[in-house]
C-alpha cells in the first residue's frame, strides 16, 4: 500500500529534505504533502486524505503542540498517526508530545533508514 504523507515544518529546505529522504529510503509514499505550520496542516487535513503526519514542534503561527491538541479535538483527524520530528530530544518534550497523542518521536539528526523505520512503526501502531 502506498501512503499519503503530510510533512509539517516551517523550513522549506527541511520539508524538501524530508520529502527527498522519504523517497530515498524506499518508503512507499504515494504522495508527500507539505505545510509550513500547524494552521496550514489543519487546512490540508480538512481538504485531503492523509495517512500519516510528520511534524516539527517549533513553528510560528501554530506550533506542533497546538497542532496535536487540535487533532485530538477533531473526530475526523484524531486517528491519523503522528510522528514528531524535532531537534529537541529532551525527555520532557518527548513525554509531552507522547501525552498529546504522538505515536513516534524522531530526533534530528536521523538517517533515511531511521525515518523509514519510524514511519512504518507509527503506521502499524496507528492501524
Amino acid at each position: 500500500m502506498a501512503w499519503r504523507v503530510l510533512v509539517v515544518d516551517d523550513s522549506p529546505v527541511m520539508r524538501g529534505f524530508i520529502r527527498r529522504v522519504i523517497r530515498l529510503s524506499g518508503f512507499d509514499a504515494a504522495e508527500c504533502l507539505e505545510a509550513g505550520d500547524g494552521e496550514q496542516a489543519l487546512r490540508v487535513l480538512r481538504s485531503q486524505a492523509v495517512d500519516v503526519i510528520l511534524t516539527d514542534i517549533n513553528m510560528p503561527v501554530m506550533d506542533g503542540e497546538e497542532l496535536m491538541e487540535q487533532l485530538a479535538a477533531d473526530d475526523r483527524l484524531r486517528s491519523i498517526p503522528v510522528l514528531v520530528v524535532s531537534t529537541d530530544a529532551t525527555k520532557l518534550r518527548m513525554a509531552r508530545m507522547t501525552e498529546l497523542g504522538a505515536l513516534g518521536y524522531l530526533s534530528k539528526p536521523f538517517s533515511p533508514e531511521m525515518l523509514r523505520s519510524e514511519l512504518e512503526r507509527v503506521l502499524e501502531a496507528g492501524s
Binding site: 529546505v13 529534505f17 527527498r20 531537534t87 530526533s107 539528526p109 536521523f110 538517517s111
Partner: protein, 149 residues
C-alpha cells in the same frame, strides 16, 4: 546548570557534529584540534541562542565553498544551482540540528529552547569562555563554537 567541563563539552560537540554529518549530510567530520577554519575571507557564519537549563550561544562557520557543497548535498541539487542564500539557510539548519543534539545530550532531562538560527557577519567566537572545535569534512572544513553563560 551543567558544569563547564571543557572535555565533556568537546566530546559532546564531536558526537553531535559527527552524527549529524553522517546521517543527514552523508559526510564525515574529523576533529582537527590545531586547525583554523575561520580564517578565510568569504565565510558563512550563523548563530543561535539557547536558554532555560543552560543559557548561551552557538555559532557555526564554514568557508563559502564548503557551505555551498553542504547545501548542494542537502538539497539534492548540483553545486551550480546553489546560491549564497541557500548555503546560509542550510547552515542554519545544520546549526540548529547540531546545537539541539549537543544540548539534548548534555541536559536530557531539562527543557530546550533554541532561537531561530540566523546568518551573521560576525567572526567565529573565540576566547576563554568559548568551547570551539574545527572539523575536516570530505570537501572543506567547518567550525562550531559553544559559549555557555
Amino acid at each position: 546548570m551543567i558544569a563547564l567541563d571543557r572535555q565533556v563539552l568537546l566530546q559532546t560537540l564531536d558526537a553531535a557534529v559527527n552524527e549529524t554529518m553522517e546521517a543527514m549530510f552523508f559526510d564525515a567530520a574529523a576533529p582537527v584540534r590545531e586547525g583554523e577554519c575561520c580564517a578565510g575571507a568569504d565565510m558563512v557564519t550563523v548563530c543561535l541562542w539557547f536558554h532555560d537549563a543552560v543559557d548561551g550561544e552557538f555559532m557555526l562557520a564554514a568557508p563559502l565553498p564548503t557551505a555551498m557543497a553542504l547545501a548542494s548535498g542537502f538539497m539534492g541539487v548540483d553545486n551550480e544551482q546553489v546560491q549564497r542564500r541557500d548555503a546560509e539557510q542550510i547552515a542554519c539548519e545544520l546549526a540548529n540540528i547540531i546545537c539541539g543534539s549537543a544540548l539534548s545530550r548534555l541536559e536530557p532531562s531539562s527543557e530546550l529552547r533554541l532561537s531561530s538560527p540566523m546568518a551573521t557577519p560576525r567572526a567565529c567566537a573565540t576566547g576563554d569562555d568559548v568551547i570551539y572545535q574545527h572539523y575536516q569534512l570530505l570537501d572543506g572544513c567547518l567550525s562550531v563554537s559553544l559559549r555557555i553563560d
